[in-house]
Amino acid sequence: MSITYLEAIREAQAKALADDPRVYIYGQDVGNFGGAFKATKNLAKEFPGRVIDAPLSEDAIIGSAIGAAIEGMRPIIEMQYADFSTCGLNQIVNHAATLFWRTQVACPITIRLPSGGTAGSGPFHSQSMEALYATYPGLIVMTPATVEDVYSMLLEAVAIDDPVIFCEHKYLYYHLKAEALPTEALPTGKARIARPGRDITVVAYSAMVHEALAMAEELATEGTEVEVVDLRSVKPLDTDTVLASVARTGRLLAVGEAWPWGGVTAEVVARVACEGFDLLDAPPRRLNAKETPVPFHPNLWGTHRPTARSIAIAVRDILRQ
């Protein structure tokens, strides 16, 4: 048997629905149609009345999930694309994120954001929004990079009593396959050493983990051992695992598909600089997408985001210092 990243998302939702009567799925076209990406394929049939088409109203979709969560439900919300979550931003950052701290009533909602770029998707169907959500207290932001993680972390997201922004990467939907679904997983908030190495630490998350791994494979042929850290969740961010890796390698590159100003890579570099300055043998660096909207044409898009090639160039540069 082999299962894709996208099928794992569907399987996790099927299991959540089967295991917990408080779970329901709400979003545009998620019902009989099975979702724009088919992440809810057949679920409406298997779980009648619990996988529901929503009107084109992101604010109301998320607002309603908050109300349902207060009443004890555990909604899974599908945004058709991460980019459209900005139309529900107010409910996410001002309502869901503040509810527990203000009222001591938990807000267990999972908001699935089909995230990140694919060739030809353009400015409004490609965004990586983890940094925007991570800046707000009260939200957990997951960025799974593997089939195993997307499955176990989605189940974990539904089980957690807090709002979870679940950034699933569209590029990985069909590109990643695993032999089987996992039976155990790292706890939320724990990063993973995706590849051990002693020369440099490359911190990445989501689709960038695979660009980093491809780069590491290439550099291994030249005798360079790259350690790749997969953050898994960007909030909470596992600073300890990153620092422990930098302690072994003395060098750091943080890679993200999001824009350069602030964000996850800036946070990683800031933490290592503040808390592990003495561990560094060279200045830490970051590699992000370019400072423009995400371009439409594949030629432009392929250069806009970091790739194995551009990561390799940055790594070689750091290793020369």
Binding site: G63, D161, T188, R271
Partner: protein, 352 residues
Amino acid sequence: MSPHKLRAVLQALSPTSSTKDTGLNREKFRQAFRWMLLARLSEEKYANLYRAGKIQGGVFIGKGQEALSVSVGISLRKGDIFAPLIRDQAGRLAFGESLLDATRTYLGSRLGPMRGRDGNVHRGRPREGYFAMISHLGAMIPTVAGALLAKRFKGEKDFVGATCIGDGGTSTGAFHEGLNLAAVEKLPLVLVVANNHYAYSTPTSRQFVCADLVEKAAGYGVEGYSLDGTSLSECLEVVGNAVERARSGNGPQLIVATLLRLGGHGEHDDAHYIDEKLKQSEVGRDCLKLAEKFLLEKNWGTKAELDEWRADALRQIEDAVATAQREPHPDPNLDDWRPLATQHLSEGHHCE
């Protein structure tokens, strides 16, 4: 006939108004009047304390809107959802909030429902169906809709959710999205609009151009009513009827009450911009005075009773203020400063 003089049940949809328990009755009117009185006097007290510099944060009061607000709170029952807004002291009390809870928040006691983490009109006890508004107008409409969806999922029966908003709030996207979603799901949502002619300083002419906001009901395919928000008897009847229609499966109900805010947007505001002609018109009448007159004329209460009710309300307020003033304020050293229910996933501080 001016729209606010007419209790216009939307012709196209013509819901009937006679259901059990909604008609005007003596006991309900007297009870509603007492909540209005307590709301008016307690908010006057908060306003005085504000001027004396004793209040944490701002004070936004519902003076002139108590008849409408109380009608919402009193028409709901345990198991229902209520998401009040900034001018709903009367409805909050009638729905079951204790005066001490309200007073604690204004005076900054850490024993209040929000423990100093949020203030005044943002208070609530969501677990008891009494939702705590966020400032962003319109946001509570889809939230209440979702709570009703959840009750349906859970197999509960005979429940209603009500929320209030102003004329300004009807212009938000959330108002549109929330009411439309509730209509699509045919949820028992009662949406109460207080058209008090101003959103802060902005007159309705800069807010919308339809003749009466109740026209929106037809657009959403829901039942709608417009009424005179200065008349307690009319508010009790129309709101009570709408709540029962929602409860018995007739879908969302839009109520638009016409009235005037009898004061500033908040206590910081002198309201100099309010049209003098409006103040002098029937819209500008004080619902509390009208209700008192009605009560006496109907012989539903005596002057002596009214005096006793007022004295009782003042006693309750003095007690609540005295208690709250003795209570400790929040201590930053005692707050856990953790925003998540899942404590161990809250991030610590870095780079400090």
